[in-house]
């Protein structure tokens, strides 16, 4: 089975510019997550989708971050405008059901550098 696909793999932008990341989850996985992983730390949940609805976005900085999951499949995460502290790896994950017991499958991530 194909894994979680993310693009681009790397992105370098200047502060105050905008950037978008794309994620295609495993086919049939209803739940999709975006995580932010700053160097030296564990991943932090930004937003969780169940099909195309938002389940949890309590840690998403909504003044600059937005995300959508149209038709309950692909998802995009956008940052506008970017700040230096947004430099991190952005990971997308999916799971087959709305339960932590099934574990998550992660993509390879997008490494963002803001200069």
């Amino acid at each position: 089975e194909a894994g979680v696909a993310q693009s681009p793999r790397y992105k370098i932008i200047e502060k105050r510019q905008s950037v978008a990341f794309w994620c295609n989850p495993i086919s049939g996985h209803a739940t999709l997550y975006w995580y932010q992983q700053i160097l030296g730390q564990g991943p932090k949940l930004l937003i969780q989708f169940q099909n195309n609805g938002v389940v949890d976005d309590s840690q998403l900085p909504k003044d600059r971050f937005s995300a959508e999951r149209l038709k309950g499949v692909d998802s995009t995460l956008k940052i506008q405008p970017a700040k230096l502290e947004d430099s991190a790896v952005y990971l997308c994950a999916s799971s087959p059901r709305d339960s932590a017991n099934y574990g998550y499958t992660f993509g390879s991530g997008t490494r963002l550098t803001v200069v």
Binding site: G42, L45, Q48, G109
Partner: protein, 112 residues
């Protein structure tokens, strides 16, 4: 706020040695997962434990969930260079069926 603390943060040992990594919290979790992450890749699920006191073995790796469901340990026997990586524990949050929170990780290096 639920937090998971991992120790040690860094560990460098010789091939063939044994090691244990710990994951602790003051909160109770519905489940506990362990992931391994290699540079430039996303975390890969190793195991999920859901019952207090549960022990699972995966070849040379032994995972245990604490009786009170607040802590977990990962023991590696006869470590090999291929075990090198970042080990992350993650706890299932009771208030949300599918949400997990991650610890800060243990970076393991096995010297040949």
């Amino acid at each position: 706020t639920q937090l998971l603390e991992q120790s040690p943060q860094f560990l460098s040992i010789q091939e063939g040695e044994n090691l244990t990594v710990y994951c602790n919290s003051s909160s109770v979790f519905s489940s506990l997962q362990w992931y391994r992450q290699e540079p430039g890749e996303g975390p890969v699920l190793l195991v999920t434990v859901v019952t207090g006191g549960e022990v699972k073995k995966l070849k040379r790796l032994t995972f245990q969930f604490g009786d009170a469901r607040k802590d977990s340990s990962l023991h590696i026997t006869a470590a090999q260079p291929g075990d090198t990586g970042l080990y992350l524990c993650a706890g299932g949050v009771y208030s949300s069926a599918s949400k997990i929170i991650f610890g800060s990780g243990t970076r393991l290096s096995i010297r040949p």
